[in-house]
Amino acid sequence: MQGAGHRVAITGYGVVAPCGIGKQNFWKGLLGPGLSGSHTVEIENWDATPYFAGPKELRRADRCEQYALAAAHEALTQSGDLPYDRGRIGTIFGTGIGGLRTLEGQVEVRVAKGKERVSPFLVPMMMSNASGAAISMRHGFRGPAETICTACAAATHALGYAARQISWGMCDAVISGGSESAATITAVAGFENMTALSTSMVSKPFDATRDGFIFGEGAAVFVLERLDLAIKRGVKILGEIVGAGSNADAHHITAPSPGGVGAAACMQLALTDADLSPQDIKQVNAHGTSTPLNDAAEAQAVSKIFGKTYPPMTSIKGVTGHPLGAAGALEAAAVLLSFEHQLIPPTANTTVVDSEMAIDVVIGKPREWEPGPTISNNFGFGGHNGSIIISPYLD
């Protein structure tokens, strides 16, 4: 990663997702069946009580924040105590929306009972920065605590910016990732009416018959540390963030730029940042939402970058659905798990890849591979593009 030159290690991570709570359950979920039969997928039987001091504290955290705190707990348990000045530990977090469930619930309260009954906790529960703030407060991290809200690219941008804080020497460690839980009745209607959701209610990224996404949720949280400091304290290094790219289509509020030119430029920025050539990339973890436009543009972008010698590509959204601002976080977790298990999870539900696409989509079953640098893409409404390159830690 360009900058002052510090390398960035990942030393812990945690995952909360409908297909599995905890990273190894999440991995099992990624190898399991794909989603079908509903416009949404939510975490069932969620129990947040282990992550809060009591019922009062729990009640005052929106689900989005609950997931973030739970995933942060797993991540920090794995990394162990960070022996750094608390002022040099940051929290750079991502979310697409924030506490929408709380907002929608309180609108209902106001309509039914009047504005005098609106909760005094509405504001701290709905604000987009609540999850990052909660992590920093819970653990006493007094470095920069900022939240990035770039729709479905939010967590990828957060991870890239978090890594850059370390690369530049501004922080010794940064907690990063993303969380989302926003599938309220109103939000689902909004996505449905804009025809973003799958009419067949099947998430099948890059398939010839794909017709929209399934609205998901979840969180993943990562502990990033300056590599030399992580080595010094003897913690296991799970991977490195070696590059990140961020740009804008400056084209349309929801449609990707024609030919995926914005996405391709973003991937190139990440490659340049990492000082890697396309041939060094061994896996593409795609945004792959299963919408006709996104997948077509992303496939074109991948072709632009890799030409005819393209690496295997997968989208986990056949299983996870699309968790908006948490997407890049769940996908970074999938990349680390693909390193650990030496398998690339298949793109669930996809059977026939769109013939317009010159890409190698992993389908049917997981594919064995020799772990190598992996690029993960996410693109958000608003034309926000984000790519990060995660590499196995060697030497």
């Binding site: 009591g54 019922p55 009062k56 009640r59 009972k113 005098e116 009954r117 909760s119 005094p120 906790f121």
Partner: protein, 79 residues
């Protein structure tokens, strides 16, 4: 003291402030004994308004720092 009324009051405190019923004593101070901050109390007052069908303007809450004072306030509004 109207015990029935106090039981309803106590239930609101237990639910909203998440404290043990045994701690909801007339002399208990909201901040020191029940660990409640100003937003907790706003939520508690809203629950009392709902439970007893009363209205408690902010000006009435001046100096109300114990369970007993709050209960007196509720009693005066109910009767």
């Amino acid at each position: 003291m109207d015990q029935q009324l106090f039981d309803r009051f106590k239930k609101c405190a237990v639910d909203v402030l998440a404290v043990d019923a045994g701690k909801v004593l007339l002399e208990a101070k909201f901040k020191e004994d029940l660990g409640s901050d100003s937003l907790d109390l706003v939520e508690f007052v809203m629950a009392l308004e709902e439970e007893f069908g009363i209205s408690v303007p902010e000006s009435d809450l001046e100096g109300v720092d114990t369970v007993g004072k709050a209960f007196d306030l509720v009693t005066s509004k109910v009767s």
